[in-house]
């Protein structure tokens, strides 16, 4: 933020927001009992009518925000920015002293949903897919479109006022900038979400030929299922072009050419090498590692070690 201010020749103001909450005026009538130890002598039976917000009051954030929003002072606008803990806004808003920023038409935290989406990725087990969060994803898309609509309206407003959208520096200009930057941030989060999931899909296509295990397929959206199919088939095409060289097997350096496996699910009579083998449930076989690898990954066989 300091770097941005230095580059764009902006001024920075710094303030403490711990007690901001307590400056919000209350619109509704709220009463409370006198707190223990703080009763007025002789008036213990009376109650207090609150004038300013208290920390812990559920209206406190809204009242604080209303007070700040209607204020003409940019200092307060910047308090709004830091209050919502959104660094991008604060860096733009903590700028030109003379202007207010026309952005806060919604009392929502911009970028919160996109942040949740990305956090979901971070909190999952490495290499494991979570169920595709259709709902949250669509909410972020919707937020992007709202930003664009507001951006467009501000553009039109500036043009109607005869201002040059590129060079005029008024509150509307900064409002447009914030909508634009918020949209970009949401876009980056959405693409990161899809890209990270695609990386897991890549690793799956090495282990699974063309058909995904059902528990994994349930977690994918339709786009991802199509992507898996396409990526798998690109891999298969490469292997075919290389003279049918199977690169999905032999993924660990060979220690023993044959491994001992127990069959976990009834696979039936299968051609293994040059023989037909009956892979019945609970049967134990000595198979080449390359023949057994796919079954082991799908959970149909397990390697017996020792």
């Amino acid at each position: 933020m300091l770097g941005l201010a230095a580059t764009l020749d902006l001024e920075i103001e710094q303030l403490d927001v711990w007690i901001v909450f307590l400056h919000g005026d209350l619109e509704d009538e709220i009463y409370m009992e006198q707190s223990k130890g703080f009763e007025v002598k002789g008036k213990e039976g009376l109650i207090c009518c609150l004038r300013k917000s208290l920390y812990g009051l559920k209206q406190a954030p809204r009242q604080c925000f209303r007070g700040l929003r209607t204020s003409n002072n940019l200092l307060f606008s910047s308090v709004v920015a830091t209050f919502f803990r959104w660094r991008l806004v604060s860096s733009i808003v903590l700028c030109h002293r003379l202007f207010r920023c026309n952005i806060m038409e919604h009392t929502e935290i911009y970028g919160k949903r996109a942040c949740q989406l990305v956090k979901e990725l971070a909190s999952a087990e490495p290499g494991q897919l979570t169920r595709f969060n259709d709902d949250l994803f669509n909410q972020v898309i919707k937020e992007c479109n709202v930003h664009y609509k507001q951006f467009y309206e501000l553009t039109r407003k500036m043009q109607e006022e005869g201002l040059d959208v590129q060079s005029a520096r008024n509150a509307d200009h900064f409002g447009m900038l914030i909508h634009h930057l918020s949209l970009l941030r949401n876009k980056r989060c959405l693409m990161a979400y899809m890209y990270k999931r695609a990386e897991i899909i890549h690793s799956l296509s090495w282990k699974v030929r063309r058909i995904l295990p059902q528990d994994i397929e349930e977690k994918l959206c339709d786009c991802e299922k199509r992507y898996f199919k396409n990526h798998s088939s690109a891999l298969q095409s490469y292997m075919k072009e290389m003279g049918s060289l199977d690169l999905t097997v032999d993924t660990v350096p060979p220690k023993d050419p044959y491994i001992k496996v127990r069959v976990l699910e009834d696979i039936g009579v299968t051609a293994i090498g040059d023989r037909d083998t009956n892979l019945a449930r609970h049967s134990i076989h000595f198979l080449k590692r390359t023949d057994a690898e796919h079954y082991i990954f799908q959970g149909m066989m397990e390697e017996l070690v020792g």
């Binding site: 634009h180 876009k187 695609a198 992507y227 990526h231 003279g243 690169l247 060979p254």
Partner: protein, 150 residues
């Protein structure tokens, strides 16, 4: 027969594999070495099969078998590491000189992967965003250069 693959070739393959593993960038494809290795692996597979059928000493057959499998692993792993690098770095590889380090088959693979990834992103995200924000390489039409970072 001391080794299945000619000593120089297995050493070269191991070196190429090790280099590929260590370098984050994809190196020049060792076309001749890969071709020779494949031919020799095929030849030795046939020889080992022949030995098994003719009742050669099973211990010696299994030793040759292991040697063969090590060579196969090296070759597969070499090709696999390259493919993984291609998949992770599609855009960079297709836009710079690194493209010439790829074999013809790898270039086909890289083109297909890029196309699939682009379609995937378009379908999942970009087509739903407002116009001006639909590029997969630029954040928006206001960007001067490719700044999406994928």
């Amino acid at each position: 027969m001391n080794r299945l693959l000619a000593t120089s070739d297995i050493v070269l393959l191991k070196t190429a594999w090790r280099n590929e593993k260590a370098d984050p960038e994809i190196l020049k494809f060792q076309a001749a070495l890969v071709q020779r290795s494949r031919e020799q692996i095929q030849l030795m597979e046939d020889t080992v099969e022949e030995f098994k059928r003719s009742g050669f000493d099973p211990l010696i057959v299994s030793i040759y078998q292991m040697d063969l499998e090590r060579a196969q692993f090296l070759l597969r792993s070499y090709l696999r590491i390259r493919l993984l690098k291609i998949v992770n770095d599609m855009i960079h590889i297709s836009k710079t000189d690194v493209w010439n380090h790829l074999s013809r088959e790898e270039q086909n693979f890289a083109s297909r992967c890029s196309e699939h990834m682009k379609n995937y992103m378009d379908e999942a995200v970009l087509s739903k965003l407002p116009s001006g924000y639909q590029s997969n390489v630029k954040q928006s039409i206001a960007s001067e250069e490719d700044d999406m970072g994928i």
